[in-house]
Point group: C2
Chain length 428, copies 2
Amino acid sequence: MPSSIGLAILGPGNVGSGVVAALRNGVARYGAQVGRPLEIRRALVRDVTRARDGLDASIVTSNFEDILADPDVQIVVELMGAEHPAREYIEAALASGRHVVTANKEVMAKAGSELLAIAAKHNVRLLYEASVGGGIPVISPLSRDLLANDITAVTAIINGTTNYMLTGMAQSGTDYDVALAEAQRLGYAEPDPTADVEGIDASYKLAILCGLAFHVAVAPDEVARQGITKLGAKDFRYAEALGYTIKLLATGRLVDGGVVASVQPTLIAKDEPLAKVDGVLNAVQIEGDLVGRVLFQGRGAGANPTSSSVLADVLDIARDIVGERRPPEAIEYRKLPVHPPAMHSSRYYMRVTVSDQPSVLARIAGILGEREISIASCIQFETDDSAGTAELVITTHHATGAALDAALAEIRALDVVVEVGNVLAMAG
Amino acid sequence: MPSSIGLAILGPGNVGSGVVAALRNGVARYGAQVGRPLEIRRALVRDVTRARDGLDASIVTSNFEDILADPDVQIVVELMGAEHPAREYIEAALASGRHVVTANKEVMAKAGSELLAIAAKHNVRLLYEASVGGGIPVISPLSRDLLANDITAVTAIINGTTNYMLTGMAQSGTDYDVALAEAQRLGYAEPDPTADVEGIDASYKLAILCGLAFHVAVAPDEVARQGITKLGAKDFRYAEALGYTIKLLATGRLVDGGVVASVQPTLIAKDEPLAKVDGVLNAVQIEGDLVGRVLFQGRGAGANPTSSSVLADVLDIARDIVGERRPPEAIEYRKLPVHPPAMHSSRYYMRVTVSDQPSVLARIAGILGEREISIASCIQFETDDSAGTAELVITTHHATGAALDAALAEIRALDVVVEVGNVLAMAG
């Protein structure tokens, strides 16, 4: 048995480079978690002459057979994208007894059930958390954490490009063409945006989700699709007037003994959680008989979030390979201190009842200043003329609990201070 | 080897009854998922004379030793709550070689690291997904799906009682006492609300989350705590004026080589996702170096959501026990149809440009009515006097795609209709 877990990376492009970098940065941690180091033994590229960060030239190849020929490659990580030849490579890797981790939504949507059957036949694993929702855990929660549920609906925003465009259209009243140009300028949309704006990308992801949620094989071309290209500023104005916003919604439901699956621009009431998922964020909402509605939200694309999911799958398989592993839920605790409240740093809100005199704020500000607590805002909210008092609300920039407590003690002692009311933390 | 997986339920109260009912309802499904039926062999109660739904009197006992004496009990499910004697029972079950699933936040917060070590020593598993966030997957994503990340912060709303109260105070301007009375009336708050309103319950859950996120053992009494009892309607008014709302926030962060952990009422800017988590919902936001921020949201309490998590853990262990199982990600697909768009049912939004004549709406409404499509609203948004046209936005109640398409064909053919613009689905 080799002393490391051997990986092969197919396609070290954008996501692939992220995975390679994360593996390098986390080498000690991952080795400890698995009980054996993870080692990239091979990388499949198109052009072997190009130098690649973190990959020794000796392990780079443009010939897939080199990977199958290396007996120490135990996990193949497919990050090439597109259906071919990724699908054939995944199949060959599984058939050769290798575990496979893939981020390939197109392959999993079109051939997932066949490939999972091949994996089962060869007693190896095929994991694909990164194929839907980038860094958001979705596949694993559906496979494991929600398994006790009869799942009846999946509703998702799973294309960051279109969500960025639609958010822009909703917020700035621009038309489709302007939103597309802006997304292309920022690199969120491809020069040919068809796969995103026509909902094709989302239909792949929805097909995968339907398979997991309902245990029904849904082909991507069985997903009803409507793109966003005909939406105009007008539609957003009218939706707004009706109390709605417009999102490209991927919806799967179990209805009348069958599955309804669609990707289409949809009006969503503004107080729904999904209506608030803006910009390049993704979100998946799942409805089960026991759990009710759960929502998972995060960054749906990008090298780092996608690496998070790819590596979670790699680590899961690696811990399986190291058979004598401790149960996965055991935690190796680090000896780090838990800081006392005096060391906590926060912004603060404080409500202070004071005598209604001109000098009061100066004196409070002076005390805060001595403790190096900067005032962010100060508003006098209420005056009680009969009592001759006023209520000040002061917010501060970051300060430690110790500095705050010392300042509050002095503020309480001021003759012009009637009472220090609530002092609350402010997030951020 | 027994032909079923034997379970013992400790404490079939509110959550326990939910688990028993879900096991009964899902018996066939769970048996298929595991490859062997799940069987409740024992139930530990205080009063054996009380009849319990779904539990035969012959398996009910008030003596914990009866459970240890049954060699066919393989998984002990602890749902008693409180520290003692739950902790001793969990320990004894683990030491006897049984797997344990628990929903007990107090025990896991105070003794989690010791109990996990005992489980590891006896080569059994101790799972506790239900101890934090009810039905929301949190423990498992932190243990598995986000494992590749260096996690730097956990920010959570993990007490439904206080979140219900604070949401009420924010929305209706009531004071603390009124909000508490209302929550007690609805059964969301206990007669003695201390554990909730003083943040004790949340501090248990945060201690568990910190252990998982940072791999540092944080004792619940090391969590800085501030309750919500002193909050007044005034604070919500002032927060609102500043653009904030107030939530009981549980925060853990890795700072300066140590952990900062606090549960305290906190002002959150209104556009932050956590500011929008209202009522009895819970949410946990996790920040990692790769994934960025991910948010998990759902119902944090209640018999059904909690059962969802308890049973996910039970199924996970049961599949482990049935060693010859297929890889967990293989899906047994059901043969169900994917319905064509004509069979989809939805509410619709349609934008129609028409001649500005009084009879137009009647004719469109007539066509929709013939197809049994009810109009929910109709607004004339814009009139173009020079062209003599107006723009109608019509929203409908639920109708099938087939009915809609047929109606749209007739509407397009009307001489008074210039153009049918966008027709979009409406969620709900």
